[in-house]
């Protein structure tokens, strides 16, 4: 019976099927961070329970952390409390913890993969909706709420009804200046912010087969933005090459054994999905969002479409555009930009910084723009320095900050002021996401870089050699 990649991994992890109920799914790896874990640990304490498998649990501090002067005590008392709670709880239960200052510290969905913790065929959860990132490795990975964090800590299992299956294929070769971020923003603009609700997505086709692991992570990361439970890509030679030698990846005989299993992790010929979409790379332009949900995006040379095209009600559409200070038919090119943010679990990896540097090299930061450059982890930060990217950035007038979620959700001090426009490589453009009243335009690192040097929304292809 031909089976999908999703089915193979899901079925291998079902401990018990509850009749007319959810499946009890065993979780291989549980990532925790300081914002969604404290109450879960309190819950454990109140029930007198322990962490069942501390060795399958990994903690990092990322959401609340400052991105400068991390060597100094954290100013905000609530943030400091949460960070302390994570440290204390990790120590108490024997959980590996990479706090501020630890050389492995960084954004949870960056540090998992770069240290070889995330592996094909695993089930992975975290109290964060962008956990879908790990699906890039052919893992079933998804975000959970704090009660579920407590559930996984105490039983290493989660109750989940099995989602329906969707396959999204994109074929062809992306043109110059089109990045994985543009591919996923394009897909979301076609499906809408709720278009994949109830489904787990598999991304397939030439575009994904030729994409780097970091690109696949960017794509899977944003699966939640179209409502999908998660997104995954079948592991292949690109995956294996990425994983070989990473610290927590299997070695020697264990590697050979794992590899043999990983090669079976693909959708069989003839397997069926509940819904399918097919797109062409040639239809994809550099993308930018104009509205207040990630589905409200378009090609950077296009004009804002009407409400009908967006699939929202007129009232909802009007509210969105009013908040953004934009109008139907407006073009985005030439729009003045106040802030640029490169970072986040979506685009905070070395390839994203290489892309940014490729545009700003030999150019200067525009006067009217404040630019926040936040690496996804200390390991990424190191690479930025070793590859000479830091020199390129400094020469152009940019400053590199320290790792953290930063302006993606502005829980720390990196907040975009009310009314200001930000081109951001993050994943959400909801009202007030980057600070109350802030106006977010989501885009790729190339679009962000182009805005950073021109001070306005610019098609990056104009700044690239042919």
């Amino acid at each position: 019976m031909p089976s999908t990649l999703f089915d193979k991994v899901w079925d291998a992890h079902v401990v018990r099927k509850i009749s007319d109920g959810p499946d009890v799914l065993f979780i291989d790896r549980h990532f925790i961070h300081e914002v969604t874990s404290p109450v879960a640990f309190l819950g454990l304490e109140n029930r007198g329970l322990k962490v069942m498998f501390p060795q399958k649990t990994f903690a990092t501090a990322d959401h609340n952390t400052p991105t400068i002067n991390q060597h100094l005590p954290v100013q905000d008392p609530l943030s400091a409390n949460q960070l302390k709670a994570l440290e204390t709880n990790s120590a108490r239960y024997g959980i590996s913890h990479w706090g501020l200052g630890n050389p492995k510290n960084g954004i949870v969905h960056v540090v998992g993969p770069e240290n070889g913790i995330t592996l094909p065929g695993m089930t992975i959860v975290c109290g964060d909706s962008h956990t879908s990132t790990h699906g890039a490795f052919g893992a079933i990975a998804f975000g959970i709420g704090t009660s579920e964090v407590e559930m996984v800590l105490s039983s290493q299992c989660i109750m989940q009804p099995k989602p329906q299956k969707m396959r999204i294929r994109v074929n062809g070769r992306p043109g110059k200046g089109i990045t994985p971020k543009d591919v996923i923003l394009y897909v979301i603009s076609k499906l809408s912010a709720a278009g994949a609700t109830g489904y787990f997505v598999e991304y397939a086709g030439e575009v994904f087969e030729n994409m780097s692991m970091e690109g696949r992570m960017t794509v899977c990361n944003m699966s939640i933005e179209m409502g999908a439970r998660g997104g995954m890509i079948a592991p292949d030679e690109i995956t294996f090459a990425y994983l070989k030698g990473r610290e927590k990846a299997p070695k020697g005989e264990a590697w050979d054994k794992a590899l043999a299993y990983w090669k079976t992790l693909r959708t069989d010929e003839g397997a069926t999905f509940d819904k399918e979409y097919d797109f062409k790379a040639s239809d994809i332009e550099p993308m930018i969002t104009y509205g207040t949900n990630p589905g409200m995006g378009m090609g950077i040379t296009e004009h804002i479409p009407d409400a009908g095209k967006v699939g929202d009600s007129q009232a909802s559409y009007d509210k969105s555009l009013q908040y953004m200070g934009l109008h139907q038919e407006d073009g985005m090119l030439g729009k003045k930009v106040d802030y640029v943010f490169i970072g986040s679990c979506t685009n905070g990896r070395i390839e994203d910084f290489r892309a940014f540097a490729s545009i700003v090299k030999g150019r200067k930061k525009a006067e009217n723009v404040t630019v926040w450059m936040v690496p996804g982890s200390h390991i990424v930060e190191q690479q930025i320095k070793e590859e000479g990217i830091l020199d390129i950035l400094t020469e152009a007038g940019f400053q590199l900050r320290q790792p953290g979620c930063s302006a993606c959700l502005a829980m720390n001090d990196d907040k975009v002021p009310a009314g200001k426009y930000a081109v951001s490589t993050s994943n959400r453009n909801f009202e007030g996401r980057q600070g109350p009243g802030s106006r977010t335009m989501l885009a790729s690192p190339l679009v962000a870089a182009a805005a950073a040097v021109t001070g306005v929304v610019t098609d990056p292809r104009e700044l690239m050699a042919d």
Partner: protein, 183 residues
């Protein structure tokens, strides 16, 4: 609240996720829609209008989209709501709500519209949600619709059991599964 796509950043803005305890979230429900920057209440926001009351929150389609923050469900529960009615719920939010003790009731777009019209005509409109029967009724007119809910979750809600209790009882089975697992 006839607003569509109400996302979790509106239900509970990120700056309120800094808690280490589950207290006081009700005060910050829809904070930036309820209050001006100087903390005075916004007169035209529905929660500030004393004519409305009750434990049922009626929202437009795609309620709860966005983050997995369970704090959104806590804020709704803490404020006093025990039921949210919409024509479409985001998955993570739906799960979080049930886990916290809020019943998500999904009705057809047409029925949702009738509810909004009934409330518009009479702000004191009463809705009755019957969980065992799985129905929601507009009392004034008797119009009703059925809603679906997973029977396992329904039992948990009705009896006050908890998934965590259920899983603890499975401890031996889980450990033996773990021993045979690949990772």
């Amino acid at each position: 609240m006839p607003i569509e796509n109400v996302d979790t950043d509106q239900i509970i803005p990120a700056r309120f996720l800094k808690a280490t305890e589950r207290k006081g979230f009700g005060d910050n429900l829809f904070r930036d829609w309820r209050y001006n920057p100087d903390n005075t209440p916004k007169k035209d926001f529905v929660l500030n209008n004393p004519i409305y009351s009750g434990k049922i929150l009626v929202g437009g389609k795609n309620f709860g989209s966005g983050s997995s923050r369970e704090h959104a469900a806590w804020a709704i529960y803490d404020y006093g709501f025990r039921c949210v009615v919409s024509s479409f719920f985001a998955d993570i939010f739906r799960n979080n709500s049930i886990n916290v003790g809020i019943l998500p009731v999904q009705v057809s777009a047409g029925f949702l519209d009738r509810i909004f019209k009934a409330i518009e005509a009479d702000p004191k409109t009463e809705l009755e949600v019957n969980l065992p029967a799985q129905t929601i009724t507009i009392l004034a007119t008797g119009e009703k619709e059925s809603f679906s809910i997973n029977s396992y979750k329904k039992d948990n809600l009705i009896n006050g059991y908890d998934d965590i209790d259920y899983l603890q009882a499975m401890g031996k089975e889980i450990r033996s599964f773990a021993e045979k697992s690949r990772y």
